[in-house]
Amino acid sequence: MAINSFSTYSIYLSNLAGFQNLQSSLNDLTQQLSSLKKSGDLTYYGASGQRLLDLRADADKRQGYIDATTAASTDVKTYDQVFTQMETLASNMLQAFTAPDSDPPTKQVNTVTFDGDLGDVGDVYKLTVDGRLFSYITNGAEGSFEEIAGNLARQINNANPPVRATAVAKGDQLVITGTQPGPLYDVTTQVADVAGGQANTMTQTLTTAGKVSPIVGQVNNALITLQSLLNEQVNDRYIFGGQTINDIAPVVDLSKLPDPTGSKDSASGATTQQLAAGTIVQKMRVTADELGTNQTETFSINGNNFTVTGPLTAQQVANQVATYYSTLPALTGVVSVSDVDAEGFTLTSATAGTGFTATVTGTDPTPSVISTVQANVPIGATQNDVLTFSGPLGSIGETYSVTITDPPAHTSPVTLTYRSTGKETSMDDVVNALISSITTYQPPFGVTATALGNGQMQISSATAFTSSAAVENSAAVATTQRTVVPVAQEEQVGFPGMKGDTGDVYTINFTSPVAGPFTVTTTSEDNEAGVAAKFAQQINAAGIGITAAVKNGKLSLTSNTPGTPFTYTAALTTDVGQTTPAPTMTTAVANIPAGATPQTDEVTFSGPAGAKGDVYSVTVNGRTFEYKTNGGEADMDAIAIQLAAQINAAVPTAGVAATPGPVGSGKLIITANTGGVALDTTSKITHPTVVTDPLPTQYNVHQTTGDSDLSWDRAPITIADQLTINYTFSANEPAIQRLIAALRIAQSAVTDPDQYADKMTQAQSLARNALEGIRALHSVNTVNDTLMSATTLSHQTQINVNTDSTQKIEGVDPNEVAAKIQNAQVQLQAVFSVVGQTSRLSLVNFLT
C-alpha cells in the first residue's frame, strides 16, 4: 500500500532543491539591492560581458582624452591671454614706430667758425670739446683757416681716450658732431692772438641740438613686457619653451641682446713675434698732402731726411719724396718704395723682422700721414699672436670666438666660442673663458694661451700657427697688394701778354699722338681766354684723344686715357704788330701710367660657422655676390669657396679673379684681372630677422649644442581618435621672432640717428608682419580652444551614453528588486509552510 508516490528521501531532495533555489535567488536579489548591479561577476552577463568591457574601456579612453585636453586647455587659455597682450603690444609699437618718423633722434652738432687774417706766428686756437682741450699754434705758413680747422679735427678724432664727438673741417668751419643722439658735450672756443698780430676769432654755435628718441622708454618697456609674456609659466612649464626644453625660460632679457644690425664690440689680432725666416715684413703707407706756399714737410726714413717745400700738389709731394728715397743708397736693400701714385707711396722693409722708422714733420697744419700697414714683427723662438677684444659689455648672447689652426695638432681651423651672459665685468672674463676652452679642448692644441689683461690674449707656440678672433661673425677687407692707378696728364697752355694785334698766329702741334698743327690767328678782339677757346674747339673737333677746355682763362689739355701721356709744342709762329710773348706750357697733373701689378684685396671671414640663414655678401666695384648659409658649413673656408665660385662665374665677368685663401684662413682673395684697376671691395654679413627651423644655439641663447633641431616644434595632442592638433607655440614662431626683431632693431635705431630712418622702416615692416602673424597664431589657438571644448563635450556626452548603456546591462531597479525579494520571501515562507503542513499530514504524525 502506498500513501503517495514519492519516497521520503525524494521529498527531502525536492524540498532541499526548492529551498536552495529560493535561497540562492534571495541571495542574488539581496546582492543586487546592495550593489545596484545584477551581478559583479562578468560571467553572469555572458555575451554582454564584452559589451560591458568595451563600454568601460571606451569611457576610460574618452576620459583619458578629456584629462589630456583639460591639462592642455590651461595652456590654451593662457596662450589666448598672452596673444591678446602680444597683439596689443605689437599694435602699439607699430603705431609708435610710425608716429616718430617726423621726430627722430638727433645728434648734437656744433659749428666752429674761424675769422680773421692769417700769417701771424704764435696765435693760439683753443677748443674744448666734451671737457677735453685741443689747441693749435699758428706758424705763419697756414694757407687757409681750413688747415687750422683740419688740424683741430684730426686732434679731436684721434683723441685717446676718445671724446663723444667727431669733427670735420669744411672751409672756414669746423663741424663737430656727437657720436650718439642727445646733448652729450659742451664746446668752448678761444683764440689768443700773438701780441701785435692780426685779430682772429673762433666762435661756436649750436647748429643742431642733440635729442633722444621719444620712444626709447617705450621700446625698452616693450622688450621687458615681451620677455615676461614669452616666459609665461603654467604648472612650472614655460609654455613658449617648445616640446622638450620647457623647463628653461625660453628667452633671456631681450633688452640686453646684441644689436641685430651689428655688434658694438670688436676683435682684432696681430702677430707680435714671428719665427725665424718669417714672412711678415714691415710696411708703411705715406699719404701725401698738398703743401701751401712756404709750407714745408720733412720726411725722415731711418734718419735720412728729405724736405719738400710748397706749393706742391699731393702728387708732386709723393713723387718727389718717393723718387728721393727710392734712389737713396742708404735705403737700398733696407727699405723699398712702391705703389707710387697720385696719393702717396708705400715703404716696405726688405727683411722680415727688421723694422724701419718713418716720420714726417713740417709746417703744414694738415701734414702728410704715415700709417702702418704692417708693423714690424720681430723674430723670436716662438710665434706670438695677440688677440684683442674690446667694446661695451652687458649684452647677452654676444658671440666671441677664437679660431686657431695649429698643425699638426689641428690642420683645419678650430673655432671656440663664448656666448656672453651679460654678467661679464670686463673683457678679461671673455678672454679667460676662451682660454679655458682652449686649454680643455680635445685633442689638445699645440699652442699656449695666456691672458694679458685689457681684453688681450696671447697665443704662443714654437711651431707656426694661425689665429684670429671675432665678435659674432665678421668680414674684413684688406688690400694686400695695391695697384698704381693711372692718372690722366693735364697740361695748361697760357697765352699771356696779348696786345690786341690782328694776325698773330699761335700754333699747337702734337707730337704724340701726332696731330695738328692747330693754329689760331688773333683778331683785335681776342684775349687769352678767347684764343684758348678757339684752340679747344679745334682740338676737340679733331678727336685726338685729348680733351681741351678753358680753365682759369687758359687752355687745359687733358688726356682722355689716364696713364697715356701726350706731348705737344705751343708757339707763337707769327707775331705782327706789337711783340707778343710766346705761350706758356705748364704740367698741371703729371701722367702716371697704370701699375703693372694688379690690386689684390683679401676678404677675411671670421667667427663660428653653423648659423643658418646668414647672408655673406661681397661687393666688388659695384657687383654684389651673396651666399646664404644653410647651417651645414664646416668653417669660414666653406663660405669663401662658395663666394669665390660665384664671383668667377659672374656673367658678365666681374673683371677679377677670386680664390679661396689657404686652408683655415677663412679668406677670399680677389685679384683684378689687370693692373691699374682699383678695386672697391666691401663685405658684410646680414643676420636673418626670422630663422625658419633654427638650429640649436642659433636663436635662443640657452640652447646647447646637443639640443634637437626639433626641440621647438609645436607639441601635438590627440584629443580624439585620429584627431591630433598642435596646441603649443614656441618663442621661435616666426611672428614672435619678427616682433622681437622689430623691437631690437628699433632699440638700435633710437641710438643711431644716421641710420634711423632705414632701421625704423625695417622695424615698422617687421612689426606689421609680426602683428599679422600673431593674429594668425591667436586665431589658430582660438580654433584649438574651440575644437578642444567641442571634443571634450562630445567625449563627455559619449561617456554618459556609455554609462546609460552600462546601466541598462548591469543595473537594476531597487524597487523591482525589493519587490522580488519580498516575493521570494513569501515563496520561501510558503514552501516552509507547505513542507511543514505536509509533514504534519503524514501518517506518522496521524498515528502518533
Binding site: S10, L42, Y44, G46, G49, D67, A71, H410, Q442
Partner: protein
Amino acid sequence: MSLTSALNTAVAALRVNQAQMQLISANVAHANDPNYSRKTLQTASVALGPGQIGSVEVSGYQNAVSASLQKQLVAQTADSGASSATDEYMSRVQDLFGTSTDQATLSTAMTAFTTAWQQLQSNPESEAAQQQVVATGQRIADEVHRLAAGLDQIDNDVRTDIGQSVNQLNDLLKQVFDVNLKLKQTQPNSAERGDLLDTRDKLVQQIAQYVDVRTVQRDDGSISLFTASGLQLMDGPPALLAYDGTNVYKVEDGTPINSQLQGGRIHALLNFRQDSTGSNKPVSPDPGTEVIRKMRAQLDAIVGAFTSTTGTPPTFAAAYDAGSTSQRISASYLTTVDPATSSPQYTTVTLSGTLQTGDVFEVDVNGHSYSYTAVATDTSLDQIAAQLANQINADGTVGVTAIPGVGGLQLVGSSNNTKFTVQTTVNDETTELSGDFFTGTNRFDFQVNAALANGSLQVKRNAASGVVDALSSADRNFTAVGLTLTNVSYQGLMTGIVGNSIANAKTVSDQSKFDSDAMTMSQQRYQSDVGVNLDEEIANLQVVQNAYAASARLLQVVQDMFDTLEQAVAR
C-alpha cells in the same frame, strides 16, 4: 487439519510477521539513505500435507528497482560530471582574466598604456610621463606573463586532475569487481544480496561521475561495465587505465582511449586540455574544448599585435619605429653576444645622426668613462668611433678591446664568460630607443625593451603622436585560435579576448547548471521509485501489527482449544 498444524501455521505466520517487522524497521532506518533501495519481503506457502492449506515462510528479499531511471540517472550524472569539471576550470580561467570590469586586467592595463602615451604626447619632456609609458608597457607584458603562467598552472592542475580521476576510476572499478565476486557467492533473494546491490549501484553512480558508463547484468548476478561508446571497462576483471599526460590508455595494451571516454569528468578534462595543433582539424567551436590552447594562442596574438611592424593601419611597433628621433645625434649600444664559457661578450656601440663640432660622445665601460669632443676635422661618425676606440684600447685596465667600424665600434671582452657594462651618451643625453619598444615573440619572452626598462635608453618622444593614433585606430583585424576580431582597436583586442572568455565561461556555467539540475531531477525520480516512503512503511507496519495480532489470537484460540480439549480429556 489438526490443531497442531494450525498452531504451527500460526507460529510460522508470527515468524513472517516478525521478519516483515524487521524489514520495515530497516526500511524506516534507511529512509534518508540515498544509497539504499527499498526492500520488500518475499513469502512462500509451505504445504503441510495433502488437502491442507500450507503454512508460510520467508522466501527472500527483493530490492526496489527502476532500471530505466537508473540508466537515466547514470547518464545525467556523467553529463553533470563533465560539465561541472569544465565549469570548474573555466571559472578558474575567468578568475585569471578577471571576473569584473575592474579586474579585467588586460583591458585596464591597455587603458593605462594608452593614457600614458597620451600624457607623453602632451608632455614629451616629462620624465614622469616617459617612465609611465615604460611602466604601463611593462604592466601589459607582466599581465601577459601572469596570464601565461596562470594558464600553465591551470593546465597542470587539469592534468593532475585527470590523473587522479583515472586513479579514482580504477579504484571504483575494482570495488565493483569485488562486489561482483560477493554477489556470486550470495544466495539469490538473500538479505545480503540486497545490500550488495545497493553498494554496486552506488559505485556505478560514482563511476558515472568520471565516465558515462553502461551496465550489462550477467546471469551470476555480476555486471559488466562499458563506456557509452562500447569500450569495455569491466567484464570480469576490471580494466586498468592510466594517463600519460596526454592520453588515457589501457595498461594492458597501451591503447589510447581518449575518444572512447564519452561523457564524465575525464572526458571533459581531456577536452579542456586538447590541442589539435598540427592535426589539420579545425579548432573545436565548443567553448569547453581546447581551452588552454585557445587562450595561449590569444596571448601570443597580443604579443604579435604589439611587436609586428606590418599591417594597415600601422601597428604600434610600426608607429613607434616610424617616429623621428628628437635627438640630432645619438649613441646606442646593443649586446650582440652574451658572455659564455667559450666566448667573450660582444657589444656594438652605434653612432647615428648629424655630427656637429663640439658634440661630446661618452662611452662608459665597466665604470671607465671615455669621452671625445668632435672637432672641425671630424666629418664622419667613423672618425668619432675611431677616436673612442683609441681611448678604450689605450686603457689596459678596462678588460675590453674596441674595434672601430662604420658609424660605430664593437666592444669585445678580453676574457670569456666575463660580463662588462656599457653606457653611452651624447651631449649628456640618454639616447632614444629607435625601435622595438616591445621585444619577444611569445607570451613568455614578451617584454618592454630591456634598454628602456633599465634606463640605458629613453622613449622616443616624437613617436608619441603616431603611437597614440595607432593605439586608437579601430579598424584592425586580429586572428588567433578560437578568436577572430574585426574592426577593433588594441583595446578591442584586449576586451575581445576577455569578452570571449566570459561568453564561453557563461555557456559552460549555464550547461553545468542545467546538467546539475537535470541530474537532481533524475535523482529525485529515481529515489521516488526505489526509496523508502515512511508513510507507506508505517501503513505496512499497521498491517503487520494486525497480522501479528491475528496470528497471536489464533495461537490463543488454539491454546484455548487445547485447554478445552485437555479439560475434556481430563474429565
